[in-house]
Amino acid sequence: MSDSQKAVVYVRLKDGVLDPQGVTIQKALEQMGYDEIEKVRTGRFFELQINGNASNIEKKINEICTKLLANPVIENFTVEKA
């Protein structure tokens, strides 16, 4: 039996999709005096703990991202193996 592995999935809004939270955070930074920050985009990440015996895991993670973790209409995702 091999050790369990980890993958981290980052989900980001696609360019051009309005990110009102990012805009609000950027405005707050401006008010705090950090006016060199021109733009903020928010996103989220997921840590997946994967059973060490799993096979075909890259394909499965891709499926998981497309079907559930990201909405392909508005979001992109990237996967990093930790």
Binding site: G16, V17, L18, P20, Q21, T24, L68, L69, N71, V73, I74
Partner: protein, 237 residues
């Protein structure tokens, strides 16, 4: 007309939809539990408003995998009438039964108020009892009602006449000020290409009695009833 109202964990407008159909339209209506796989012979399936699965991940993202949704998706593919209201609209978009996505309101706030809608297409099963261009008053209550789709796709929806309702002011002008959430082209409600699946962010089931402040939502239910009674008559012949 036989109506099924799906109850997901976190649905909170299921009783409103149920009451509108049973008490105001005097039609048969059943609750459909999310774990069930039986649509109980419904002519119309309503996915109601609320916060299914706590809106975790994205509004509607988890509900699309509820057992009942397998049946709803098959029913829709077979031409059955499906209407999603508010969270129901979000679920239909997440399930790709309707185009686009509902993202966070551009002003970031939960918005709960009456809005005006212009009937853009009264040739659908969900809007035939309204006049074309009619202005109706229906309440909204949502945080994620900002309709979005890729460049080019919105134009496709427009040229296919899939936009059924658009946010407007009291006089029917489609303006930015009358847009409560930032939706592209002020889109408030739309249908799929086939016209049998429909979603809207405003709540027609909350505008069915004078005491609620408006009866303009009734037309939606009456439209579906008239389509179904015509289908039933055609079947009998």
């Amino acid at each position: 007309m036989k109506v099924g109202v799906v109850t997901f964990p976190g649905s909170n407008c299921d009783y409103d939809a149920y009451a509108a159909v049973r008490n105001i339209l005097n039609e048969e209506v059943n609750f459909l539990w999310h774990k069930s796989d039986d649509l109980m012979g419904s002519d119309l399936v309503i996915l109601p408003g609320g916060f299914s699965y706590g809106d975790y991940l994205r509004a509607g993202a988890i509900a699309k995998f509820s057992p009942i949704m397998k049946e709803v998706i098959q029913f829709a593919k077979d031409g059955g009438l499906v209407a999603g209201i508010c969270n129901g609209f979000q679920i239909l978009a997440e399930a790709s039964l309707l185009p686009g996505a509902l993202i966070r309101n551009d002003h970031l706030r939960f918005s709960c108020k009456f809005v005006y809608l212009r009937v853009e297409n009264n040739k659908t099963a969900f809007s035939s009892c309204y006049g074309e261009g009619q202005i109706i008053k229906i309440p909204i209550a949502h945080s994620e009602g900002n309709f979005y789709h890729f460049d080019g796709e919105v134009e496709k929806l427009e040229s296919n006449n899939q936009v059924v309702f658009r946010y407007c002011d009291e006089d029917g002008n489609v303006t930015e000020a009358a847009n409560p959430n930032g939706s592209l082209n002020n889109i408030a409600g739309l249908c799929n290409e086939q016209g049998n699946v429909f979603g809207m962010m405003p709540h027609p089931e909350r505008a069915v009695e004078d005491i609620l402040g408006s009866t303009d939502g009734l037309g939606l239910f009456e439209s579906v009833r008239s389509v179904i009674s015509k289908m039933t008559t055609a079947d009998a012949n």
